[in-house]
Symmetry: C2
């Protein structure tokens, strides 16, 4: 990538690092960030890595009022030999551009964006934790910056990348969670923005999440917004069910996010000759499978948790216990293999890994 | 209101004012803004009016990523005698709190918020234009400021009010527009955030608006997200139809914004003994009324345009011309009466006006 050069302003006042044994998720940020500006005349320009610091934005900036924004989430993993590697960053950048298209944000150069991530991670490499399960979370995002209160696409943007060292999702090994099926609130609907990774989808999920948390559930299982019948996602993850010897997951229908982990799970299952089907699934069906003893496992799949087994599903006044509330074999194998590839324990047979050179 | 005192830091470097004959909408901002902070310990605190200047926000602030934000829009009008007055600000502040509830944002004190608006408008009173149809647009909004990448409500917020002098919506008198019925994209759905004035609803509308603008239409007419059958809103306005001697408007169903202008229109029609019904309306019905010559007028209603007559509706390959593309009598009377009250030409018989004292 030569269309851009990246200016680098070193942070001379490095922060004290947080306790790497107690990182949690998304609380700490590294010493630097990447910024790329957009204007109609210059298009994307002024690529720079600068000290992590507050953004200065006009109070009328479109992002504050009309939420024209997109984001991505991926991770850098440290291997035993000290290498730092990314998992399928091209998939995230492809999705970023699909989100851009939906949100009327100008396309970015995907290859260059990956270069920018690699550069930034390299500069802040001391922030990549190496305890088991820890990683450096990478958050690329684009915000609309024009100070204008008309409802229309911005004429200026910033593409920003920030980095956050994150703790192990599972403190004590992979562990099933309790999930509540959501019947009132809707995350996304066909014709809306569900397939884009954009702020509004997450804002609209807060209320439902708050309500189920208060009842002791980890996450919401979202149904489709039209008939409240078809299963869509679980929290901020795609969802899979093991029915007898077959794995099923909701098909991409325009309101479901096209997850990178989802795609990787499907690829692995195919590779293992485990039948996997992308299709419409009703909650009714899942309930019946469970009643008949055919529902063997269920799990969420996403970058944060990789695989999150579901031990219990609560649907209206019905409770479905899955695999005695324990992690099933397929869930476990997927978790082990995906994290194995991510952390370099296992061979990268699908060419998913991109090394950060230094 | 005594629970808060408002600190005032005067802007000693006042801006040059823009050409008040050429203001357009939402492009210029006054010398000052109001800010109120929220933290879990102190709740809402530190009310201040300060020079209008960029906000400083951590790049990880929740608003940039998950769009947890709400806003309002109302106007200050200058009367012939030089008074400045607000139109039903209590309605906007009530709605702000309903939006807050949906978006998991802490409630604000409505009376105090109106005090804040009055104070700010008074300080920037030289920015209220007085040419016919011009006004000072008031934009209160709340943004989530906590630097945290977990999907959960913020623990800190800012409530901000900015002011923008705006030109007359109709340069040459009230004028009908062409509207396209949207069949693909959806603005909001039951169970979603359509009833809240929150960023994501507007972000999701950009694409449809862009597509119809390219075809020469002013705005989109939104159908419900479930059956794509029932009429919801038009652009960022509520919509009304005059069928024979009766006026109908979609009932509030959870996905439609509860407009202040909508409420004022209904109140006026009742006062005039013109029958008005809030009910479900299909696009099919409207088409049939038009074919039978029973569709007499159609108009949008919202703070920006007040009343925006619809001269033509395009629905798939069908075109509906309304009232020969001219402004109808009811539309015109509503426009004249509402603006009459707003600008103090007419008596404020419903107690809608709140004066800004100075
Ligand atoms: C709504 C939603 N669904 C699914 C996913 C999973 O996608 P990925 O596997 O790319 O992380 C995410 C992202 O984390 C998400 O936000
Ligand atoms: C989506 C939407 N509908 C309707 C309206 C009209 O509401 P109001 O009359 O309160 O301005 C607005 C606000 O302007 C809006 O954003």
């Amino acid at each position: 990538m030569s269309a851009y050069t990246i200016t680098y302003i070193k942070n001379e006042n490095k922060k004290e690092k947080p306790d790497f044994d107690n990182l949690a998720f998304g609380k700490y940020f590294t010493d630097h960030m990447f910024i790329l500006d957009y204007s109609e005349q210059k298009e994307w320009h002024n690529a720079r890595i600068v000290p992590y610091k507050p953004l200065q934005l006009d109070p009328a900036a479109i992002v504050f009022h009309y939420g024209q924004t997109v984001f991505e989430g991926l991770k850098a993993y440290k291997t035993k030999s000290g290498d730092i590697q990314l998992f399928r960053p091209n998939k995230n950048m492809e999705r970023l551009n699909r989100s851009n298209e939906r949100m009327c944000i100008p396309e970015i150069d995907e290859e260059f964006a990956i270069e920018a991530i690699k550069n930034l991670v390299e500069i802040d490499k001391d922030w990549v934790p190496d305890a088991p399960g820890t990683s450096l979370y990478i958050r690329p995002f684009i915000i609309s910056t024009e100070p204008y209160l008309g409802v229309s696409p911005s004429s200026t943007y910033q593409f920003i990348i920030i980095l956050s060292p994150v703790g192990a999702y599972y403190e004590e090994g992979i562990n099933p969670v309790r999930i509540a099926v959501e019947n009132e609130f809707v995350r996304a609907v066909k014709g809306g923005t569900g397939e884009a990774k954009t702020a509004g989808n997450y804002a609209s999920s807060l209320k439902a999440q708050e309500m189920v948390s208060n009842k002791g559930y980890a996450q919401v299982l979202w149904l489709d917004g039209i008939e409240k019948k078809y299963i869509e996602e679980v929290g901020s993850m795609n969802v899979f069910f093991v029915i007898n010897d077959e794995v099923i997951t909701p098909e991409l229908n325009g309101s479901i996010l096209n997850g990178v982990t989802r795609n990787s799970v499907i690829t692995l299952l195919n590779h293992w000759n485990i039948p996997v089907k992308e299709r419409k699934i009703t909650m009714e069906e899942i309930y019946e499978y469970a009643q008949n003893g055919e529902l063997k496992e269920a799990f969420g799949a996403g970058t944060a948790a990789v695989i999150s087994p579901i031990g219990e599903l609560s649907w209206n006044d019905k409770k479905i216990e899955i695999n005695d509330g324990k992690t099933g074999k397929i869930s476990f194998d997927l978790y082990e293999t995906l994290t194995g590839i991510q952390y370099g324990r296992d061979e990268d047979i699908f060419d998913w890994i991109v090394k950060v050179k230094f």
